[in-house]
Amino acid sequence: MKHTIVALVEDRPGCLNRVASLFRRRSFNIESLTVGHSEMPGLSRMTIVVDGATTIVEQVTKQLYKLIDVVKVSDITDDTSVHRELAMVKVHTTMNTRSEIIEIVDIFRANIVDVATDSLIVEVTGTADKIDSLLQLLRCFGIQEVARTGKIAMVRGMGGTAPAEREKPAPVRRIKASKLAAIS
């Protein structure tokens, strides 16, 4: 079973190296890993997918916690969550196939972001399954390039992966009526 682990880590040089090195050294297999900024300044968010059949997931989270730069680790596999991946696919086109490709792209609610005389780039967002299906259909036209981001994920509703010191909403500034009058 695939497990999705979200780790909030200090945005410091070498942190990705520490995480990747840990996975290699402990023989944990990474299926995918994505990193980017989180909602909190100074914290990056990693989404890591591991295969529970080959890797003891509990050890993954515990070993991740041992890294000083790792602030919060959540295994969100069992939570109801939204999983997305983005892919760009460059497909070979001819006069004859272009409209057919556009039809397929529409069905998948994907976008065409570049058109050239003999190729176009499709941008698609969705679960890994959806992207796999689209690739399957496009293959017969001749795929020239594929770039996939790997999965990012977020728990639905109030459940979340943010650390205890969650960012508070910015205070609403109330302007006194008299001032308001002055401004107007």
Partner: protein
């Protein structure tokens, strides 16, 4: 007033209570060394090889409980520390390693004596730093020492580019340290403690297996109270030896590959195993699937990642051992387990495990036993790795808390001499013995010069059997007695001692051992003693690798040749 990076490093070290550094200078750390004369409170001990500095800092840390500090220059200086850092990491020893680095504009250019030591030590440090600005030094040092000594202790490396030493900044040392990614759990969860109490009260045949965590957390009194109150036999891991007095009626020796037969039998028969500050190393457990087959397991450790890593655990308690045991002791019911204890006593009578066979020859076991008799157990024993390590563990009775220092996890040959050096610096008023084989001794033999230059009075007992003994034993038992690459010659150790400038003794007869040990003890400074012992003596009892703890091989009965 602005200060240089070198001065700031020294100020930070003083704020952290450091009084001694084991180090070896070189190009990029020169600006740091240049400031040492301004800080006479910092004693610098010049080692002869950086590996010696790392082991000495480790030995110092284990002997004192304080953070040990070693210093090396960039490149080869830094890489020479690596074995010592890994040794400290595997045995959870608080060490801060300072390495010089080429100046920041030269980093990444394959400059002279440049090496990516932060990358190299990533998997063998608790954490490490590359400092890029002089003004970052106080924060980094504050964090590094905090990380090294708290939670599960471990080594932290700080890589210091040359221009960070020469740069200038205002110095103010942070009073508090707060890292959102580092908050060790120190108190056991009350519900877990309650579950453990229930198991302890219900168990018929419980044992405690106490590891180095007891020593690290100074939980000697708490462990004793737990054992006595609930009447539970105490068994130690190799590194747990001296966490519980071995002359105590409830002490039943060491478990594992060369553990006491009765200890392994007790673990194999128990119905509750209380693992305290230990991590189920394969040398301790034997075949994991057959480890403590009838037991529920309570595992107390400060490192959550150790829970369930190697063996299944019924009740994990994450927390500092001292706190957790204190909480347990409050809730325990007084017990009487005379039947179970007399059962293990009977096993001990039938399988004594520490009886030395009757012979006129000088056996390595005799040497350890004689050191015990002469010192009355009042000594810090530092062992190397291999047969000498096992005999030092088996044939000395450790009643003093934290009196055995050994490289357990990494099993680093060459550890004993420099680690004993560090231990003696940390415990100047104690007798410190380094027990070492002829193989391991020759790995860090250069530190004899350090002992003499700084008059560090380590007593060295070389058990010279002309072999890499433990490897030879495996070749004898598992490789048809084909001794490949294990026979080894030695220099004339007495002449060698003279050449380095210390007294040297050679003992070849059993009856001379005691007198020589007494003479060595009477001498103030370092002494080297070579004991020429039986060359093919084996360590028993033994549990062959990959077999269960219950499959104990005991010493074969030998014919006594008159």
């Amino acid at each position: 007033m602005k200060r240089t990076g070198g001065q700031i490093v020294c100020e930070c070290l003083l704020r952290e209570g450091v009084d001694v550094l084991f180090g070896f200078p070189g190009g990029v750390v020169l600006p740091l060394y240049d400031t040492f004369p301004q800080y006479p409170q910092l004693r610098h001990i010049l080692v002869r090889h950086e590996q010696g500095a790392a082991h000495a800092a480790d030995g110092y840390a284990r002997a004192t409980g304080k953070v040990g500090v070693c210093v090396a220059t960039s490149g080869p200086g830094a890489t020479n520390l690596v074995t010592g850092i890994a040794t400290a990491y595997l045995d959870s020893s608080p060490v801060v390693a300072l390495t010089g680095q080429v100046a920041t504009p030269f980093i990444g250019k394959d400059s002279f004596q440049e090496v990516d030591i932060v990358g190299i030590t990533l998997p063998i440090t608790k954490h490490n730093y590359l400092v890029e600005r002089t003004e970052d030094l106080p924060q980094v040092f504050k964090e590094a020492f905090h990380i090294a000594r708290t939670g599960r202790p471990g080594p932290v490396l700080i890589d210091l580019p040359k221009d960070v030493f020469t740069g200038e900044a205002q110095f103010s040392y942070p009073e508090h340290v707060s890292m959102r990614g580092y908050k060790p759990t120190l108190h056991g969860h009350p519900a877990q403690v309650e579950k453990a109490v229930k198991l302890l009260n219900e168990a018929k045949r419980p044992v405690i297996v106490a590891g180095r965590g007891v020593i690290v957390s100074h939980a000697f009194a708490e462990l004793k109270e737990l054992a006595e109150k609930a009447q539970i036999p105490v068994i130690n891991t190799l590194l747990g030896i001296s966490s519980f007095p071995e002359s105590h009626v409830l002490s039943f020796g060491m478990l594992g590959m060369h553990g006491m037969a009765y200890a392994n039998m007790a673990v194999s028969a128990c119905d509750l195993l209380v693992a305290i500050g230990m991590r189920f190393d394969d040398r301790a457990t034997g075949k994991v699937s057959a480890f403590a087959p009838h037991a529920q397991i309570v595992h107390i450790d400060v490192d959550p990642a150790e829970i369930g890593k190697n063996v299944r655990v019924n009740v994990p308690i994450v927390g500092d051992v001292k706190n957790v045991l204190a909480a347990l002791n409050k809730r325990l019911v007084q017990q009487n387990r005379a039947d179970w204890i007399s059962q293990i006593d009977a096993w001990r009578r039938d399988h004594p495990s520490t009886v030395i066979r009757d012979t006129d020859k000088l056996l390595p076991q005799h040497v350890v036993r004689k050191i015990y008799e002469v010192t009355g157990g009042d000594a810090t024993m530092v062992s190397d790795v291999g047969q000498n390590q096992m005999w030092t563990a088996q044939h000395f009775w450790y009643d003093k808390p934290n009196s055995l220092i050994s490289s357990g996890g990494l099993g680093t040959m060459g550890f004993a001499l420099p680690a004993a050096m560090g231990a003696k610096v940390g415990r100047p008023d104690e007798t410190v013995w380094a027990v070492v084989g002829d193989g391991g001794f020759q790995m860090n033999i250069q530190e004899l010069a350090t002992l003499v230059q700084d008059n560090i009075g380590v007593k060295i007992a070389i058990l010279n059997n002309g072999f890499l003994g433990m490897v030879r034993q495996w070749q004898e038992l598992f490789h048809g007695r084909r001794y490949v690459g294990t026979h080894m010659t030695s220099p004339d150790y007495v002449k060698l001692a003279a050449a380095y400038g210390m007294p040297g003794y050679r003992v070849t007869a059993k009856e001379d051992a005691e007198m020589a040990i007494r003479e060595a003890m009477a001498h103030q400074g370092p002494v080297l003693m070579e004991f020429v012992v039986e060359s093919e003596e084996n360590v028993y009892p033994m549990v062959a690798p990959g077999t269960a703890l219950s499959e104990i091989i005991e010493e074969p009965v030998r014919e006594v040749v008159a």
